[in-house]
Structure formats: structure tokens, C-alpha cells
């Protein structure tokens, strides 16, 4: 007689090592789990709530400057180093891990208009209101040595911005004209100007940079020269997308940011609005997916690269007009320099847990993220995920601007209603802000 005996394969229920999780046999048959959606919805709701509870983006403030912070620069090789120049001509090097100033030097008389670190990280350039370009060593001078620049170039006019090539010993400045400099020479190797306009900001495209010495490549630096886009208001700064060679974003005095495709400059690719005052600075995340903007309205906003509205707004009680902003090269932090002499360190994702995560922690984070994404359209979840606190001044201004916009659009609608059909073409938001494109 054959006797049937219960037999189980130990592989099915015994874990391989002691550190593994206990194996739980499950039946994944969907008919046995009628409430899966409901349960996941609740989980998503909880995840969203927890995200908001843990959203504490502010990490540290670096104080030490004696005037407003006017410019900042990232170190290309070291994540923990940043440089900042203030309005009194002082330049400071900071160690972010220790949150302290490492070195202070009086770089210029008057404003430090721009700082840029050479691609190798061994030296940096500063420009100031005293019409000087100075090159400094990154290392702190030894005991008894004087704090002196390696090079000083006396310019003819005031420089407004500076940027260094990402691979060659070439840098570019803007002012009354755009100058391209070889590091070894005291006069610009090329300079460009167009009419009498002074140029506000000049940036190398980090992706597509050909040596400017070879041939006609200057248009690659700045749109205003290559193709003048005249907008209703002044553009303050621009930043190239580091992952997409032809997209750049410029921040404007009219509270908006505009992302352009450099091939089609006749209208912006996306208009990003949410700020309630002039936008002063913008910087892309190194992944090229988002960018952060600093505004005169004392707030920082993070925009997705193709989203019209911000996904995040940062502010603190004491932060005044934010003048400069940088996104750290490891995509984790944001640095903002503001009028009230402080540099602030923020998390790029407000609710993110910093430091190493255990694998299970990581899995949980991923799962929660996925849930939030899955249920993002549900009203409760959306409401909680999108709720942000705003200072009263900004809040009321937001409201005011909304009312103004509505009124304007209503008026336009009414006028159009009474105009001859076809006589008033509909102008889209994108087209509205570009006056002309000059070739």
C-alpha cells in the first residue's frame, strides 16, 4: 500500500541566512484580495501625510558675510566646498559639512559681481565692480604668505558676469560686450557686441562647448548676441540644462521664468510662473529634470523642467530677497544666498531622509513614492500633497495677482466679444512676453 506523506521542500520556507527576512508564503490570487485598491489608497494617503509631516527642508544657514550675498559658485570637484561673494567685495570659501567659513578674502572694492571656479578646481576667477578680473588659488595661502591673486586683469568697463569653459582654459565675461579670454592673456581673444545694449549674463553651454578659438562659435554662449529676443522685461540670469543641449531657462523681471529651445527662439518652450516678484537667479539640477529659482519675493521655488508651475516653495521668516541660488552637484541640496547676508542650505526634496538608507528603508521609500504617484489624482491626496504654507505677504500678493490676471483675461474676452471677428487674434501666454526677435 502506498502511503502518501506530507512533504515540503525546505527551500520554500527556510531563509538562506539569518539576516534574511522570514519567508511568508502568500497566495497572490487577486480573487483572494478584494480590498487591494482600498488598502493601497489608505497607504498612499498615509504616505502623503507623512511626507508633509517630514517635509523639513531647511538644513543650515551659513552666516559670516557682512553684506548681502551677491554670487555663489560650486566647486566642480568637491561637493563640500562653495564660494560666495558679497556686496562689500568680500569672498568666502565655505565647508558645507562643517558648516563653517574656511577662508575669507577681500577680493574687490565694491560688489563681487561673479565667481567661477576653474574646471580643474585649482583656482577661481572673480569679477567686481572695480572692473577687475582676478584669478585666485583655491588653496589657502600658507603662514606668512599674503592673500594675493595669481592674476589681475584690468578691464575697460564693469563686468556683470563671468563663466568658465568646462574643458579649456578659456573664460567669458559680459558687460558692455561679451569678451572671451584666454587665461594666459591679458586682453580678450574675441569680443562681441551688438548695438549698445549691455549684456547681463553670459553662460557657456555645459554640454555643447566647442573651443571658441576655432571659428565662429560665439553664438553658443548667449542668446542675446546670437539672436536677440526682446522681451517685455529684463531677463536677469540664464542657465543651460546640463542634460539637454538646446534647452535653457532664463529668469525674468516679470515674475516668470522662460525655458527656451535655442533652435526656436521666437517663443519660449515653457513659461514657468508662480513667483510674485522679480526672479533673480536660476540653476538647474545636475540631472536636468528640475530647476530652482530665487526671487525678490523672499522665496525659493522648484520647478519641473517642463511644468508651468512649481512643485515646491521654500521660505523662512528671516530670509530676505534671495539673490543667488545653486543646486548642488549631487542633486541633494540647494544653496541660496540672500540679502540678509546668509547662505542657506536646503534639501532638494523636502521630506527626504538624508544619509545612507537600509535596503528595506529604500524599498519602503520607493513603494511610497510609487503609491503617491499612482494616487496623485485623488482629491484628498492631491490636496494634502500640494498644501504649502506661505508667508502672509506672499499669500496676499498671489491672490492679488490672480485677481489681476482674471480681470485682464475677462476684459480681453469682453473686448474680443465686441470686436469684429478675427480682428483680435488670441495671443497665448507663451507669445505674450516676447516682443520681437531680432536677427
Amino acid at each position: 500500500m502506498k502511503v502518501k506523506v506530507l512533504s515540503r521542500n525546505p527551500d520554500d520556507y527556510v531563509r538562506e541566512t539569518k539576516l534574511d527576512i522570514q519567508r511568508v508564503p502568500r497566495n497572490y490570487d487577486p480573487s483572494l484580495h478584494p480590498f487591494e485598491v482600498t488598502r493601497e489608497y489608505t497607504r498612499a494617503l498615509n504616505a502623503t501625510k507623512l511626507e508633509r509631516v517630514f517635509a523639513k527642508p531647511f538644513l543650515a544657514s551659513l552666516d559670516g558675510h557682512r553684506d548681502g550675498v551677491n554670487c555663489m559658485a560650486k566647486h566642480p570637484k568637491s561637493l563640500s566646498t562653495i564660494l560666495s561673494g558679497s556686496c562689500d567685495g568680500e569672498l568666502k570659501l565655505w565647508n558645507l559639512t562643517k558648516r563653517e567659513c574656511v577662508r575669507t578674502l577681500q577680493a574687490h572694492e565694491g560688489f563681487v559681481r561673479g565667481v567661477v571656479v576653474r574646471f580643474c578646481g585649482s583656482s577661481f576667477f572673480t569679477i567686481g565692480d572695480d572692473k577687475n578680473i582676478k584669478q585666485w588659488k583655491m588653496e589657502t595661502p600658507g603662514y606668512g604668505e599674503e592673500e594675493e591673486p595669481i592674476n589681475t586683469i584690468l578691464g575697460k568697463s564693469v563686468f556683470t558676469s563671468i563663466d568658465h569653459h568646462h574643458k579649456d582654459a578659456v573664460f567669458v565675461t559680459s558687460g558692455q560686450q561679451v569678451d572671451i579670454w584666454d587665461e594666459q592673456r591679458t586682453s580678450p581673444i574675441r569680443s562681441f557686441s551688438w548695438g549698445v545694449d549691455s549684456i547681463n549674463c553670459v553662460r557657456f553651454n555645459p554640454v555643447e562647448v566647442v573651443n571658441p578659438l576655432s571659428g565662429l562659435s560665439y553664438p553658443r554662449f548667449e542668446t542675446q548676441i546670437f539672436f536677440k529676443v526682446i522681451m517685455t522685461m529684463r531677463s536677469n540670469t540664464l542657465c543651460w540644462n546640463p542634460m539637454e543641449a538646446y534647452h535653457f531657462t532664463c529668469c525674468n523681471e516679470d515674475y516668470n521664468l522662460y525655458t527656451y529651445d535655442m533652435r526656436y527662439l521666437d517663443k519660449p518652450y515653457t513659461v514657468h510662473m508662480d513667483h510674485v516678484s522679480a526672479v533673480l537667479d536660476v540653476d538647474y539640477s545636475p540631472t536636468g529634470q528640475e530647476f530652482v529659482s530665487a526671487s525678490f519675493d523672499k522665496s525659493i521655488r522648484i520647478f519641473p523642467k517642463d511644468g508651468g508651475h512649481s512643485r515646491e516653495v521654500y521660505h523662512t521668516k528671516r530670509m530676505q530677497h534671495v539673490i543667488c541660488i545653486k543646486w548642488s552637484s549631487d542633486n541633494k541640496y540647494i544653496l541660496s544666498g540672500s540679502d540678509e547676508m546668509n547662505i542657506r542650505l536646503w534639501k532638494a526634496n523636502a521630506a527626504e531622509k538624508l544619509g545612507m538608507l537600509a535596503p528595506r528603508e529604500k524599498a519602503a521609500v520607493n513603494y511610497n513614492q510609487k503609491l503617491k504617484e499612482k494616487f496623485q489624482h485623488h482629491p484628498q491626496i492631491r490636496r494634502i500633497a500640494r498644501h504649502r504654507h506661505l508667508p502672509k505677504a506672499v499669500y496676499s500678493q498671489v491672490k492679488e495677482i490672480r485677481i489681476m490676471k482674471e480681470a485682464r483675461s475677462r476684459k480681453e474676452r469682453n473686448v474680443r466679444k465686441h470686436a469684429k471677428p478675427g480682428s483680435m487674434p488670441v495671443v497665448t501666454e507663451k507669445e505674450k512676453h516676447v516682443v520681437t526677435v531680432v536677427k
Binding site: R52, P242, R311, H377, H387
Partner: protein
């Protein structure tokens, strides 16, 4: 001498910028010219820059010396010493001088610059456009890992570190010789030359596809073998008989085809058949003389099945012993007609209400089941049918000897019909679920009225397109710090936003057309407040069928239609139908008594034994009656109690969210669970993989040109570019390969 001296002086004195010359200086220049002209020979006057500078003002260029012409031959005047060689060139130059085709004056600086700019713009934009493919690729990628060009971790091979390495010691040389001779890999130990060749010959994707195909073929083969083995093992004679019959039929069919396609082979077959027939005739095997046949003959008096079997055998006998006639085409057609009886195409065979067996066979769905059918999860419907297809069918065939082929065909049709019905059920299911369960499960409404849509648009920011809607932050003065705050926030929504709720009601009405129309009807009736007796006479006529598509048609048509409808519904008792409906709904809403008695628990159990009365009394739990229905006192109204207003706050009110194109898509994604409670570990990992992965503490450089080259290569070969397709190992390999290529170059 004098003039030379003066010239030198002039050179020295000329300032950088003529534009800054004062009038005095100009006069002085003129004076100098006058003096120089005194010295007999006329000299070419050239303005020169005295100082090197990048910027040359356009105002420095003056028109001095314009009148003087220089002969081209003057230019080679200094080469007088070799006159023989120069005569030819002089001639040429003279010829050139005779040509009076003057060049156009150059464009102004502004114009030239503009042209240059435009050309440069076109050039650069073309160049930049090369990135398009890479950019699009990255946008589509399921996962991006930053930094993009990660070096493989771990120790590197010596060849990578030291560029000019060569085998030097005799031992090394010997080893390398050996490797060379055997065509073993020198640098990359992973792949041999042959392997690399195969890799080149077939891409990974192709190989995968091919492997999958082979696997499938192998699996099919094994299934087939297993099936054959199983069938061989079956001892049942009846089964084999049935099988044989099927085979014979198939054989005949094949033969028919063969007659058409290959007459020679058919003739051969025919001979064989003839032979077998002759054998049969000689053996008298199928006569009614066998043991089995005799027993059946006895049974035939009492048993229907036996009689049938006997008849069948007789038929077979007749078939076999008959003289064979080659079937013609006409007969074929007849056969087909026989194979498909007419009533198969009928919507539903009229069932014999008395004979339950008949019903069991031909229609599997009793009327009672129809209602519950809707509540069965949609996936289960087709699955059940499929399960019935396979082994069950075999078993049935074994058991039911008397089942004829016709019945089998019929069953096939039946199953197909069932499948069709199941599909319908799938379509109906989501709606019904919503109706019946009223839970958060179905959170999206399928259809929206146009009005709703407009409303939503008006609420949104006027300058923002709908796609951007969800991205908007809701900024307020309230700081949310704890979970309790969050709850309050939620309450706020439901309290201050009545608009979505109303839209919700609208949408639910549309998703549940039946109940909604009933409600609407009810409301209409309530407004009129008509006496039921009056309704009895009038309502039956005026009943406006809400689904009637004829409402749009012409007036005459509608009149006719109405007349027809009137006629059609003349005998209908609408009122009683309605009341019945209402009663049914009421009874459905009443709680049922829960019976928790366990037979055999604490007393004897078994067939025919009932649990004791006291026990039954004790374990039958009566549920408290629900609150009175809202339509209790309203005679002509049915108010649905299924809608749960507390759920409305959790339901999605938008018509279509951005990445989705239709609500069904959205529903599907919502229905698919993500968590590990419902999925295997690997699946969860795959589903929840984040879109962007960054390494802690790694500096992310801007995208480099190498990526562009990579992207272009991929675009040329037409491989899929998703990063997720490429495992880390493969990536590493490709990188290594690239390095080798560089080295070879």
C-alpha cells in the same frame, strides 16, 4: 630723403584713432601732404596703424589716394632681376586689367554681420539638433541612473591602467602565444573571439526572441508528447472508439482535400480504403454477433443508451459494408450543412423547462445565476470557460458514451456564446461594481457631461492648460505640521468644496444609467404629483423611453414611432412592474439573517440530521433593520440607497488625467496593485523602481559628447534605447569594448 623722413615722422604721430583727430591735426596732415608733393616723385600714401589692436574702427579707413591707380604690373616691379619668367605673368596681368568687370561694393558691416549671424545660427542649431535623439531617449527612459557614465567599480585590468603594456618575459610571451594559437581572449576574459563574432552576428534582442521561440516549440512538443502518452494509457474502450471515430472523420476530410489537391495520392488512399472495406466485409466484425452486441441487444429493451449504442454499431456496419462511392462536391456541401444545424445560429435555444438535464447540457446558466454573474470578477468568466475546455471535456467523453458528435459541436457553440457573454460581463462589470459595492474601489467616473468639463476649466487658472492643472501648489496661510492637521485639511475640502460633489452626483447618474433614469423619472413624477390612477391610464402611453434614439428624427417619424410604441406597450402593466421593482429593491436592502449553526457540533451530525432547534435559534443572528428608506412614503419613487456620500470626497472628479487618454486606462492602473502584499518581491522591485537614481555623494557631470555618439549609434542600429533594457553588466561590457577599439586605433 626728405620725404622719407617726413613719412617716418607721420607714422609716429598717427594716433590710434582717427576719429579723435582734432581739426588742427587734420590741417597739419594736409600741410605734410603738400610738402611731400614738392619732392618730384609722386608716392602712394598709405595710412598705417601704428599700434597693434584688435579693434579697428571703421572710421580709420579714409579715402586718401583714391585717385591714384596702381597697375597690377607695378606690384611685381621689384622682381625685375629675372625678366624671362615674368613676361608671361605680366601678359596675364595686362589681360586682367582689360577686363572691366568690377566687383560689387561689399555690404555694410551691419548687413554682413546679420548674414553671418543667421548662417551661424542655422549651423549651430543643426549641430545642436543632433542631441534630439538622446534627449528624447532620456525622457522616455524608465530609469535614469546618475552619474551617467559610471566607471565600473573594483580593480581594473592592467591593460586599462597601463597603456603601452607588452608581454616581455619569456613566460608571458609563451602564454600569449598559446592564447593566440587557441584563439582565446587576450584582454577581455569574458568573451572569446567566437563568442564576440556571434554577439556581432545577432543582437541580444534577437537572440532573446529566438530563444523564446525555441523554448515555446520545445514546450509544445513536450505537451504533445505527454498528451499522447496519457491517451495511450487510457484503458477505456469507449474512449478509444470515440477517438477512432473522430480520426476516421478527420481522415475522410483529409481525403476529400486530397482529391482536390493531389489526385494520385488520393487514388492510393482509395485503394487502401477499398482493401480495408473488403477485409471488414470478410471478417463480419461489426455484425450483431459479438459478445458486447448481444448483451446490448438484451439491454436495449430497457435502456435507451444501449439501444442507441446498438444502432450506432449497426450504422457503422452499414457504412463499412456498403460499396464505396467517391463523394462529390455537392455531397460535401450537404455535409457541411448537416454539421451546422440551423438552430445553432439562434439566439437562445428554447429550453425544455421540464427536463433539467437538457438544460444542464445546453445552457449552463440558470436564470438565477444570471444576476450573480455580474458580480463575479470579470477575469473569472473566461477563465472558467477555459478550464472547462481541457481535461473536463475528455472526462465527459469517457463517461458519456452516447454523446454524439452533433452535441459536441453544439457544445462548442455554446461555449463560444458563453465566452461572448463573459466579455459583455467584463464591460458591464466596473459599472455594476460601483453600483453594488459603493466603495472607494471604483473611484473614477467614466463619463462626464460637457457642462462639468466647462465648470472644471473655469475653476482652473485661466492661463494654465488642463495638463498643468495638477502641478499647481495649493498655497495657504495654514502650516500643516501633524497628521491631525492633515485630517482637518481633508475636512476643509469636503466642507468648502461642494462643487465636486455635485459633479460627482452628475457623473454617478450617468454611470448608472438605469438607476439614474429611474431616479429622474421619479423626480419628474414627484413634480407632477399625479394621482396613481391617472398615471395608470396616462403614464403608460406617455412613457418616454430614455434610451430611445429616435428622438432626434423627424416629427412624422416620431409620431409613427410613438404610435408603434403605444401599440407595443399596450398590454404592459407598467405600474405593477414598477411596484415589483420597488419591492425587490426594498427586499435587497433588508439585512439577511446570518446563520452560524455548525451541524454536528456538540451533537450527532450526518445525513438527514438537522441541528437542534434551540441551537438553530441560538446561532441565527438577526441583524438590526436599516433606517427606513427615504422613499418609504413616496409611492411612485424609488430612491437608490446605494450612493455613499462619504466616499464622494475620495473620488476622482477629473475627466481624464494627463498621461492617460481615457478613463478606462486610468482605472486599469488604479486596479493594478503595487505592493508586496499582492505581488512577488521581484515584481514589486520592478514596479516601484524610481525614475531617477542618484548615487550618494557622487558629482553629476553634465552630459558628455560620448553619450551623443552612443545615442546616435543606437539610433542607427535601431536598438531600444531604454536604459532599463541594459543591465549594468552589459553596459560595462560595451564600455570595455569601446575602450578596446580605442586602443586598436
Amino acid at each position: 630723403m626728405k620725404s622719407k623722413f617726413l613719412d617716418i615722422k607721420l607714422m609716429i604721430k598717427t594716433p590710434l584713432n582717427y576719429s579723435e583727430c582734432s581739426d588742427d591735426e587734420r590741417k597739419h596732415c594736409r600741410l605734410l601732404e603738400a610738402i611731400s608733393s614738392l619732392g618730384g616723385k609722386t608716392r602712394k600714401k598709405l595710412t598705417e596703424r601704428s599700434e597693434a589692436s584688435i579693434q579697428v574702427s571703421e572710421f580709420t579707413v579714409n579715402a586718401e589716394g583714391e585717385g591714384d591707380k596702381i597697375n597690377l604690373s607695378d606690384l611685381i616691379g621689384t622682381l625685375d632681376k629675372a625678366p624671362t619668367a615674368l613676361t608671361a605673368t605680366k601678359k596675364q596681368l595686362k589681360n586682367l586689367e582689360h577686363n572691366h568687370t568690377a566687383l560689387d561694393t561689399p555690404l555694410t558691416r551691419k548687413e554682413t554681420e546679420q548674414i553671418q549671424r543667421v548662417v551661424a545660427f542655422e549651423k549651430t542649431s543643426k549641430e545642436v539638433s543632433r542631441w534630439q535623439s538622446v534627449v528624447v531617449q532620456n525622457q522616455k527612459a524608465e530609469q535614469l541612473v546618475f552619474p551617467l557614465n559610471q566607471e565600473p567599480s573594483g580593480p581594473k585590468r592592467m591593460e586599462h591602467v597601463v597603456s603601452g603594456w607588452k608581454a616581455q618575459t619569456p613566460l608571458e610571451q609563451e602564454i600569449f602565444n598559446l592564447l593566440h594559437v587557441n584563439q582565446q581572449p587576450l584582454h577581455n576574459p569574458v568573451l572569446t573571439q567566437n563568442e564576440e563574432a556571434t554577439m556581432k552576428a545577432m543582437s541580444l534582442e534577437e537572440a532573446k526572441i529566438r530563444r523564446a521561440e525555441l523554448q515555446k516549440v520545445r514546450a509544445l512538443q513536450s505537451y504533445y508528447e505527454a498528451k499522447a502518452r496519457r491517451e495511450k494509457k487510457i484503458k477505456s474502450k469507449t474512449y478509444h472508439r470515440v477517438q477512432k471515430k473522430v480520426m476516421r472523420k478527420e481522415y475522410l476530410k483529409r481525403f476529400d482535400e486530397m482529391v482536390k489537391t493531389d489526385p494520385a495520392a488520393a487514388l492510393e488512399e482509395l485503394k487502401k480504403m477499398e482493401l480495408s472495406r473488403m477485409k471488414e466485409r470478410m471478417s463480419l466484425k461489426h455484425q450483431n454477433s459479438g459478445k458486447w452486441a448481444r448483451s446490448k441487444a438484451i439491454m436495449a429493451k430497457y435502456d435507451d443508451g444501449a439501444r442507441k449504442a446498438m444502432q450506432q454499431q449497426l450504422e457503422v456496419n452499414k457504412d463499412l459494408t456498403m460499396k464505396l462511392v467517391i463523394p462529390t462536391n455537392e455531397e460535401d456541401e450537404d455535409e457541411v450543412a448537416e454539421a451546422l444545424p440551423d438552430f445553432v445560429n439562434d439566439a437562445e435555444p428554447i429550453l425544455d423547462p421540464i427536463n433539467p438535464w437538457m438544460r444542464g447540457k445546453l445552457s449552463t446558466e440558470p436564470a438565477a445565476q444570471e444576476e450573480s454573474n455580474c458580480l463575479v470578477p470579470p477575469a473569472a468568466g473566461p477563465g472558467d470557460v477555459k478550464a472547462g475546455d481541457g481535461p473536463d471535456l475528455l472526462r465527459e467523453e469517457e463517461e458519456q458514451v452516447e454523446e454524439t458528435e452533433e452535441e459536441a459541436i453544439l457544445r462548442g457553440f455554446e461555449e463560444r456564446r458563453k465566452l461572448r457573454r463573459a466579455k459583455d460581463a467584463v464591460e458591464v462589470a466596473p459599472v455594476v461594481m460601483e453600483e453594488s459595492e459603493g466603495k472607494v474601489k471604483q473611484l473614477i467616473t467614466t463619463i462626464h457631461s460637457r457642462m462639468n468639463c466647462q465648470h472644471a476649466r473655469e475653476r482652473a487658472d485661466p492661463c494654465v492648460s488642463q495638463g498643468e492643472g495638477p502641478a499647481l501648489l495649493e498655497e495657504g496661510l495654514v502650516r500643516v505640521r501633524t497628521l491631525e492637521d492633515m485630517e482637518l485639511l481633508g475636512q476643509d475640502v469636503s466642507a468648502c468644496e461642494p462643487a465636486p460633489q455635485t459633479t460627482q452626483t452628475l457623473s454617478t447618474e450617468q454611470t448608472e444609467p438605469q438607476s439614474a433614469t429611474k431616479q429622474a423619472d421619479g423626480k419628474r413624477k414627484r413634480k407632477k404629483m399625479i394621482d396613481p390612477n391617472e398615471v395608470l391610464t396616462k403614464e403608460a402611453k406617455v412613457i418616454k423611453v430614455p434610451f430611445a434614439p429616435t428622438a432626434v428624427e423627424d416629427v412624422e417619424d416620431t409620431d409613427e414611432q410613438r404610435f408603434i410604441i403605444k401599440e407595443a406597450f399596450a398590454g404592459d402593466d407598467v405600474i405593477s412592474d414598477f411596484l415589483k421593482d420597488k419591492k425587490k429593491q426594498e427586499s435587497a436592502g433588508m439585512p439577511k439573517v446570518v446563520d452560524l449553526t455548525l451541524p454536528g457540533w456538540g451533537e450527532w451530525g450526518g445525513g438527514g440530521l438537522q441541528p437542534s432547534r434551540s441551537k438553530r435559534k441560538r446561532f441565527r443572528i438577526k441583524v438590526a433593520p436599516p433606517p427606513p428608506r427615504k422613499d418609504q412614503k413616496l409611492l411612485n419613487v424609488i430612491l437608490s440607497e446605494k450612493r455613499n456620500s462619504s466616499v464622494a470626497a475620495h473620488q476622482v472628479t477629473y475627466q481624464v488625467m494627463f498621461p492617460f487618454t481615457n478613463p478606462a486606462q486610468f482605472e486599469r492602473t488604479i486596479r493594478a496593485p503595487v505592493g508586496h502584499t499582492w505581488n512577488t518581491g521581484n515584481a514589486v522591485q520592478k514596479i516601484t523602481a524610481p525614475k531617477i537614481v542618484t548615487q550618494l555623494g557622487a558629482i553629476i557631470e553634465p552630459i558628455s559628447r560620448e553619450e551623443l555618439v552612443k545615442g546616435e549609434n543606437q539610433a542607427v542600429t535601431g536598438k531600444s534605447n531604454l536604459r532599463s533594457d541594459q543591465g549594468p553588466q552589459q553596459k560595462r561590457r560595451s564600455q570595455q569594448k569601446k575602450k578596446h577599439k580605442h586602443k586598436k586605433n
